[in-house]
Amino acid sequence: MVPTNYYIILSGILFGIGVFAFVFKRNIITIFMSIELMLNAVNLAFVAFSQAWGKLDGQVFVLFVIVVAAAEAAVGLGIIILIARNRQTLNVERVDLMKL
């Protein structure tokens, strides 16, 4: 039986790596992917606690998180396509002014 703490530590590590990728990378699609990594880390914590307490609420919440992440990915990638079309670049440091 794997102790629940191990899952929480793994979730913390993945979340930390996600935050680091978010601040360090410069390509906007990679930044978006690090958001998905953070959401996945949180999902892991939810499922680990759901098994620890013996209730199913955690897993139902994971389903909601997955659905919301899907909706967010769809709209976010639409916005990214628009940015790429208007500024012709995917580097966030070049889209830091509202003036084109």
């Binding site: 530590i9 680091f20 410069r26 098994q51 307490w53 199913l56 997955i66 919301v68 899907a70 396509i81």
Partner: protein, 167 residues
């Protein structure tokens, strides 16, 4: 060293390697592939925790739909190799320290307050689809209907955003 511990460490190692590879790769498509590896490893961990339905949904929705969307956008926008400017190279080491501090703090807090909890293997029988669907349609029916509305709004929004301008 029981079998579950061995499997846990293998899957956890795979997930961490995938996540680190997300940072280290230069081309976004390789980062996307690393993220897919992380998601499949997490699905394996959900199976180890007895959450079969969530594991299957993770692979179908996250790995088979959301990441495919990412891969499509990377291919269509022809995202090239990423360059690192001076600012980002400067932000690397302090950022790493701060992130380690943040993640360590969150993890330590949670671990300290829940250190007595040992996992039980009871959710295996209940975590079947009927258990989850009972909860979804009884206790959580209001958020469930709201998420269907949310998906509708997201689909309309994405369609409108990605249209070509008509002159």
């Amino acid at each position: 060293m029981t079998a579950s511990l061995v499997v846990f460490f293998a899957l956890a190692g795979l997930a961490v390697i995938g996540a680190v590879s997300l940072i280290l790769q230069k081309h976004p498509i390789h980062s996307a592939l690393s993220l897919i590896v992380v998601m499949v490893a997490l699905a394996g961990l959900y199976l180890l925790l007895g959450a079969e339905f969530v594991a299957a949904v993770q692979i179908i929705v996250y790995g088979g739909a959301i990441m495919v969307l990412f891969v499509f956008v990377i291919m269509l926008l022809n995202a090239g190799v990423e360059e690192h400017t001076n600012i980002s190279k400067l932000a690397g080491p302090p950022g790493l320290l701060l992130v380690v501090a943040l993640a360590g703090f969150i993890t330590a807090t949670i671990v300290r307050t829940t250190s007595g909890v040992q996992g039980s293997s009871q959710t295996g029988a209940m975590a079947s689809t009927s258990g989850i669907s009972n909860m979804l349609f009884r206790d959580f029916v209001y958020p469930f209907e709201l998420t269907s509305f949310l998906i509708l709004v997201a689909v309309m929004g994405a369609t409108v955003l990605a249209q070509r301008e008509k002159h």
